[in-house]
């Protein structure tokens, strides 16, 4: 696309020499629709003049259902001032599609806006609409899909380097994986492993991994609930995930992300929780034992009492004991959680003890 043409669409701005639309010959044909707040309106905002003027012109062109390069530039102008304006974003999308603009140009423009507005909601829906429209054009071309996936992944990586747990970015990532069918894309899994290596407590990354692995349409049963057994998941996938997550738990045993993931994998795979009892027990030492009187203080001394390296391990251990019918040990685990190791959740641990009672 010629640079001049692009300027007509992107970064060209609006307004005459003084920056005002009212002095811009390009806008001379438009009668702005000025809105007056009613007398006594609550939480009325004293809009700066440039914003109020731009909004008045926006109302006029929206009312006229105009779709044109100048409208696109007007939306850019307003989005710069107020990126949270959902009406403007949807109108912008309507312009992009009505003018049949190259989607990738719009995405390039959007990348900049996104990086400047990390917490913004609307950007992501706009991107979603763009992809919905772009995908049919490349759906039959694996190379194009692959190239697009790579560029989206690069952009997402850039966003996540600013804010590793940004909910909108991760929601969008999940959408892109589904839309472009990236479940078996080795780069996607590698990218997630990279993020987990960087911060093993990044729960967003763990959640995405779970989605990638257990919602893979190659084997996952459609509509299977996330917390339910899925007979479609191959045993070797389950084994691989258990292997992976137990390694990560060893790095940081009190990291709940790892334990939630492990439990999720066991359930998906239909495994008995007791099959990881040996591993889980590594993090719970001498449960219920008191430090003997003669025992000396200090690490690893004989006679030292109970030690818990992970409350989440003790939680899982309670479930394992219950699964094996060892109710007293399960009860002891839950009691120790409430009494000492995780007291803020004592109400929950007590409820879990009652679950043991009714479940026996």
């Amino acid at each position: 696309m010629a640079a001049e043409l692009k300027k007509e669409l992107y970064g060209g701005g609006v307004g005459g020499e003084d920056g005002k639309l009212s002095t811009d010959p390009e806008w001379a044909d438009v009668e702005p629709v000025v809105l007056q707040e009613p007398e006594g309106a609550l939480a009325a905002i004293a809009y700066p003049d440039d914003y109020a003027e731009a909004m008045a012109y926006l109302r006029a062109v929206m009312q006229a259902k105009e779709h044109s390069p100048r409208c696109l530039r007007l939306t850019e102008h307003i989005i710069e001032m107020n990126p949270a304006h959902y009406t403007v974003w949807l109108y912008r999308a309507a312009n992009v599609f009505a003018l049949n603009l190259p989607i990738l140009d719009e995405i390039t423009w959007l990348n900049e806006v996104a990086l400047q507005n990390l917490k913004n909601y609307q950007i992501w829906h706009h991107r979603h609409l763009l992809v919905e429209n772009y995908h049919p054009l490349i759906a039959s071309d694996p190379a194009a899909i692959s190239a697009f996936a790579a560029s989206e992944r690069a952009f997402i990586a850039q966003m996540l380097s600013e804010d590793t747990k940004n909910y909108h970015v991760w929601s969008y990532r999940s959408y892109v994986v589904s839309k472009l069918g990236l479940f078996d894309d080795a780069d996607e899994l590698a990218a997630i492993e990279g993020l987990i290596d960087k911060d093993v407590r990044n729960n967003s990354a763990w959640s995405h991994r779970f989605f990638l692995v257990f919602s893979n349409p190659a084997y996952a049963t459609p509509g299977a609930a996330a917390t339910a057994y899925d007979a479609g998941v191959p045993a070797e996938v389950v084994d691989r995930e258990i292997e992976y997550v137990t390694g990560k738990i060893r790095l940081a045993p009190q990291n709940q992300s790892g334990w939630n993931y492990l439990r999720g994998v066991m359930v998906k795979g239909g495994r008995k929780l007791a099959s990881v009892e040996g591993f889980v027990s590594e993090f719970v030492i001498r449960l219920g034992e008191e430090r003997s009187e003669g025992g000396k203080e200090g690490e690893g001394e004989e006679g030292e009492g109970e030690d818990v390296l992970s409350t989440h391990a003790l939680d899982l251990l309670a479930e394992i004991y219950a699964e094996k019918g060892e109710k007293e040990k399960a009860d002891l685990s839950l009691r120790r959680l409430g009494q000492k190791w995780d007291r803020i959740r004592v109400g929950y641990w007590e409820w879990r003890r009652k679950c043991l009672e009714v479940g026996a």
Binding site: L35, P38, G40, A41, L42, A43, A44, I45, Y51, M55, R59, N82, H85, Y86, T87, L90, W124, K165, Y167, W170, S171, S174, S178, D199, R201, N203, S204, S207, H208, S215, A225, A226, T227, A228, Y229, Q254, S257, G270, K272, L273, G298, E304, V308, E319, A322, E323, G338, Q339, R343, I344, R345, V346, G347, Y348, E350, R352, K354, C355, L356, V358
Partner: protein
């Protein structure tokens, strides 16, 4: 002693926190802990006014006993936040010399300053607020709701709100963020709740219900969810906001042929598929995501439970569509010590707003667990094809023969189906509460108040107060200070908490000729001040209760529903 009970955070004199992680400090904690275990009964210190040093459980003055050395960004900011909060929780006045604390080391609710802050938020806003141009209705709801919880009469805002709401309404139905903005479910929800808060026929009549019904139909999607605006995203917020709007305004549930969800099926209506949509948003962690296949998040958990509690009695709808043991585990994991507050996601920081989004889930979960037995018509696996968690989830755990928090796994491991199971056991009630009320109240009063002249409530120390946090922190405080019980059958309203004011408008009793198919919505939420645990706040620091689903006072819910009930359902068509 065998069971420490839910009040193990035994009050004791504050002592300096031990240094982190040296073996000897670990031993010292064990010794201290053993000392605590001998405390068999909870001691009520509320009258010990002579005590000079505040009584603060060490739960809130020390880092948790399990620590680890593998530092990553997440742990780094978590420790930093915990230490910062401890400075506000320790009962010492080094940080805020002007703050008076009670004998529990808890500051008073700075009611007057918060009220002033909220009145300001309803007044004229400076140009910097232009970024809120598309969310002005939220400011109305947040501020009015917070004022009401603080015991203020907001009827003086009625006229102003009426003209403001009118200016935001579109002829095609719904309310936008401002004049000539697209109608949006979130802003419509906020306007409707605001009108309900100021109350009165003139306020209710602002709403064009016929256009609203048409507009909601245009947002309803074939998969059961709702778009938040025409052409906008679909998420669980949309479903919650739509459910609230439909039931408060008593709109017909009929699906119009113009709706994208219309298939010609005469049984389908606006609520069809909503619960399935909610169900698809539960994640492997047990929490709820904004859309299927994303991370579990506290705000969406509340939206999910709100939807289900609107669709049917929570004791039926929640176990039917969600894995309850997993959900409760995840919700409870949101509360951290020493902070006492809730986080929104696993390994994220506490934030005062989750006092509502997560804290507000507990009354609904309690209604689910404590409610009357689910009726047989809602048994899982009764042939409605894959709905709910048949074959390995919450419905199973709630109804199966070995209903413990572990049945999910044991049963799924053997791939049994729920439908074949008898009803030998179910999840036990949650009589003693599933979260640490004292912890949450301490977090709110110690860490979430802006104690400068500015007033208002906030995310955490170091953050500025705003209307959003003021509303949701107070909602959380309200939910921690009260307990709710939901009757199974409709009956005349009980007296509400003493803090609840009564006027003619709010004490209307719903009509007996109620033809609303959602009859359970007439069931009464009985509310009482929570009295069982240690009470660390003063009587005059109590805030008013709000409806566990609609997040406005129960009287306001009743009044607007009664108003539109009298008008007669279906009249709009």
């Amino acid at each position: 002693m065998a069971a420490a009970g839910p009040r193990t955070s035994t009050p004791q004199r504050r002592r300096p926190a031990p240094a982190i992680s040296s073996p000897s400090s670990k031993i010292r904690e064990i010794e201290e802990d053993e000392g605590e275990e001998e405390t068999d009964k909870v001691v009520d210190f509320s009258h010990a006014r002579t005590m000079a040093e505040p009584v603060i459980p060490d739960l809130f003055t020390q880092l948790p006993p399990v620590r680890e050395g593998y530092l990553t960004d997440t742990l780094d900011v978590q420790l930093e936040t915990a230490r910062e909060c401890m400075k506000f929780l320790d009962g010492l006045n080094t940080r805020e010399p002007l703050v008076t604390r009670n004998e529990h080391g808890v500051p008073k609710l700075a009611r007057d300053r918060h009220v002033r802050f909220l009145h300001m938020a309803l007044g004229n806003l400076p140009g910097g607020f232009l970024v809120a141009d598309a969310s002005r209705p939220w400011f109305l709801y947040w501020s009015l709701s917070a004022l009401v919880m603080l015991g203020q009469d907001v009827t003086s805002y009625r006229d102003g709100l009426i003209v403001t709401a009118r200016s935001m309404q579109n002829d095609t139905g719904g309310f936008g963020g401002g004049g000539r903005q697209l109608s949006h479910l979130a802003t419509t929800y906020a306007v409707v709740l605001s009108l309900a808060l100021v109350g009165g026929g003139e306020a209710y009549d602002v709403i064009d219900r016929k256009a609203m019904w048409k507009w909601l139909n245009s947002l309803k999607q074939p998969d059961g969810g709702f778009q938040v605006c025409l052409g906008g995203e679909e998420d669980i917020r949309g479903a919650y906001c739509a459910s609230v709007i439909i039931t408060l305004l008593r709109l017909p549930l009929d699906l119009s042929p113009e709706s994208p969800a219309y298939t010609g099926d005469s049984n389908a209506n606006l609520f069809t598929g909503v619960a399935d949509y909610v169900s698809r948003c539960q994640t492997f962690e047990g929490g709820i995501s904004g859309q299927p296949n994303v991370e579990a998040h506290g705000a969406y958990a509340f939206c999910a439970l709100g939807c289900l509690a609107i669709l049917d009695h929570p004791s039926r709808s929640i176990p039917r569509y969600l894995d309850v043991p997993r959900l409760v585990s995840w919700l409870s994991s949101r509360q951290y010590a020493p902070e006492g507050g809730f986080s929104g996601r696993t390994n994220k920081l506490v934030d005062g707003c989750y006092s509502h989004w997560v804290g507000g889930c507990f009354p609904l979960i309690e209604a689910c667990l404590n409610g009357n037995p689910p009726s047989d018509r809602h048994r899982p696996g009764d042939g409605d094809g894959g709905v709910g968690r048949v074959g390995g989830g919450g419905a199973l755990a709630a109804d199966g023969p070995a209903a413990t928090a572990t049945t999910t796994t044991t049963a799924t491991a053997t791939a049994t189906t729920a439908s074949s199971s008898g009803r030998g056991g179910r999840l036990p009630p949650a009589e003693d509460g599933l979260f640490h009320r004292e912890g949450l109240i301490r977090y709110i009063l110690c860490c979430c108040q802006d104690t400068t002249k500015r007033g208002g409530l906030r995310d955490k120390p170091g953050k500025g107060s705003d209307a959003y946090h003021s509303c949701y922190v107070l909602s959380g405080l309200s939910s921690a200070q009260h307990q709710w019980e939901l009757d199974d059958e409709p009956r005349p309203p009980l007296a509400e908490s003493p803090a609840e004011t009564k006027d003619a408008e709010t004490s209307k009793i719903p009509s007996d000729q109620d033809i609303d198919p959602e009859a359970h919505l007439e069931a009464v939420w009985a509310v009482l001040p929570y009295l069982d645990g240690p009470r660390v706040f003063d009587n005059d620091d109590c805030v008013r209760p709000i409806h566990p689903i609609y997040a406005i006072p129960q009287g306001s819910v009743r009044a607007i529903r009664a108003y539109f009930g009298e008008k007669g359902q279906g009249v709009v068509l």
